[in-house]
């Protein structure tokens, strides 16, 4: 084995080893933590990539834009990490919204202030572009002027907003299905109140909405600037209401967005959309390449 390694070194090749990638592993660990990737996820991700990479034969020199450049084992390891990260973040053909007849339902959930109400309007705009007929449902009865916020956004888009005073959120969502049928809308978007994952009563409310309306899509709306705790709340939301995917908002800032990797790794659910600004057109179906480089930094 030592001979094989020496021989391949003479031939411009070397094998990746624990020793020659140690420095790179350390640097990537710090980089991922600074990118807000969850501590446990950093460990398991690096262990997995190391076990895949160690023993692999790599070129000590590579052709880069026509000239020969040296590439160290550490640099090779960084490339392997990048590829693994991209693979992890999911494939592009992931269809962002699952449609169903006679109507599709989308339930938006998440912690306080992550961008659910704004995202509901953005999804309505996206659906209009897809030649669908969305109906927005203002099911946040707690936050001051939450209903007005969604109604204002709906009016700007010429999309109807369903709300009735004195109804509980589960009742509102159930009644919305009838409303959609009446108004011949084919996609219904439920905007729910922000809540803590540890709030048993409010998490129960989400379970009840889910039970009564059986939504086709349940999206967890997460802030791209979120830190280590995001995995805890995301896995709790997933455990209680089985999310179909998540939407990462405020990616137009300079937060590295490592929360996306953590949530993906722990829940195994895909990123569906990215929120890239405050306007209603600022929503993009998810693409993994950009995010992988940003997280690795």
């Amino acid at each position: 084995d030592g001979f094989k390694r020496a021989k391949s070194a003479i031939g411009g090749e070397t094998a990746l080893s624990e020793a020659n990638i140690q420095e790179a592993v350390r640097e990537i660990r710090v980089s991922l933590l600074e990118a807000d990737v969850e501590l446990g996820v950093v460990k398991t991700f690096l262990e997995r990539v190391k076990s895949r990479a160690i023993g692999e034969l790599v070129q000590t020199e590579v052709k880069h834009k026509g000239t020969k450049v040296k590439r160290s084992p550490g640099e090779h390891f960084v490339r392997i990490c990048h590829n693994e990260l991209e693979k992890l973040m999911g494939s592009v053909e992931e269809v962002p919204i699952i449609y169903r007849r006679p109507f599709t339902t989308i339930m938006l959930v998440g912690l306080q202030g992550t961008g659910k109400t704004t995202t509901a309007a953005k999804l309505a705009k996206y659906l209009l572009n897809e030649k669908r007929k969305p109906l927005l449902v203002a099911a946040d009865i707690y936050r001051p002027a939450a209903v007005e916020q969604l109604q204002t956004l709906g009016a700007q888009l010429n999309v109807p907003v369903f709300h009735q005073p004195d109804l509980s959120p589960p009742q509102l969502c159930a009644d919305a299905l009838r409303e959609a049928k009446k108004r011949k809308r084919d996609v219904i978007i439920f905007d729910t109140a922000g809540r803590l994952a540890i709030d048993d009563t409010l998490m129960g409310e989400l379970e009840e909405i889910k039970e009564r309306t059986n939504p086709t899509n349940t999206f967890l709306v997460c802030d791209a600037m979120a830190g280590q705790d995001t995995v805890k709340s995301a896995s709790e939301f997933n455990r209680r209401i089985d999310i179909s995917g998540f939407i990462l908002t405020k990616i137009d800032g300079d937060a590295r967005g490592g929360a996306a990797l953590s949530i993906r790794e722990i829940t195994k659910k895909p990123v569906k959309f990215l929120g890239v600004g405050e306007g209603v057109e600022a929503l993009e179906p998810f693409r993994p390449e950009g995010l992988a480089s940003r997280i690795l930094g």
């Binding site: 710090v30 933590l33 600074e34 990118a35 807000d36 969850e38 501590l39 912690l111 306080q112 202030g113 992550t114 961008g115 707690y142 936050r143 001051p144 002027a145 939450a146 007005e148 916020q149 969604l150 109604q151 204002t152 956004l153 700007q156 803590l196 994952a197 540890i198 802030d223 600037m225 979120a226 830190g227 280590q228 705790d229 995001t230 805890k232 709340s233 405020k250 137009d252 800032g253 300079d254 937060a255 590295r256 490592g258 929360a259 405050e278």
Partner: protein, 280 residues
Amino acid sequence: IFTSGASLKDEMVDELEEALLSADVGVRMAMEFCDRVREDIKQKRVKDSGDIQQALRAYLSTCFNGAAKNGFPHTSEKPHVVLFVGVNGAGKTTTIGKIASQLAAENKNIVLAAGDTFRAAAAEQLEIWSQRTNAKLIRGEAGVDPASVIFNALSHAKESGVDYVLADTAGRLHTKSELMDELQKIRRVAGKACEGAPHDVWLVVDATMGQNALQQAKEFHDALGLTGVVLTKLDGTARGGIVVSIAHTLKLPILFVGVGEQADDLRPFVPENFVESLFA
């Protein structure tokens, strides 16, 4: 057998380092403090494992020494103007509501300035808080220049002997230079309307924020000169460790913590309790 004592202490430091990292304390800062403790152990400055957590606690507590200010500013200026700034969804508008509620309980005369003229139903949201707290609301039409609302609010407050003006602004990412320019204009206009205003500029930070919060704080501080920080959503599981770096690097006082969505869910920030919670 001889090394087991040393490795037990090393393990303890490793565990504490992980606790700090999981609490969103700055990565470099957490590693640096833990390296200092590892050195203390080597140099026998730390004798037993009970001292390890104490050593770390001491390092962390020094981060909050740079600014001793605490509690609500009791002031001789009238009106005392506080400008609330921060990124989208951090909890600015709700925090204003909570503070208005506290000041109203002390029989203070308050004006709320609806300086968010951009986001849908922002003024309506603040209006509900003004009704709950008996504060006067000064607002404008949606889309008007926010500086004009601030100007009107301060002019009114000066004429009417108001004690405090709490000025709301739209959430904004620190990476958007035109929005940071807008805040600087609001600041200038406030000073024109009322000499010395804004007397306080408070950054509202969400406890769920990760490492980017330090960059946010730096940019807002460079643009406006912050005088304090409010940490919100501490009633969740996030521990808000990023304020350690913010306090340490920018020497800013952490004034209050938000612990819920209702009017009385605001507490003064207590460094000792906070440092303890990082190890939880």
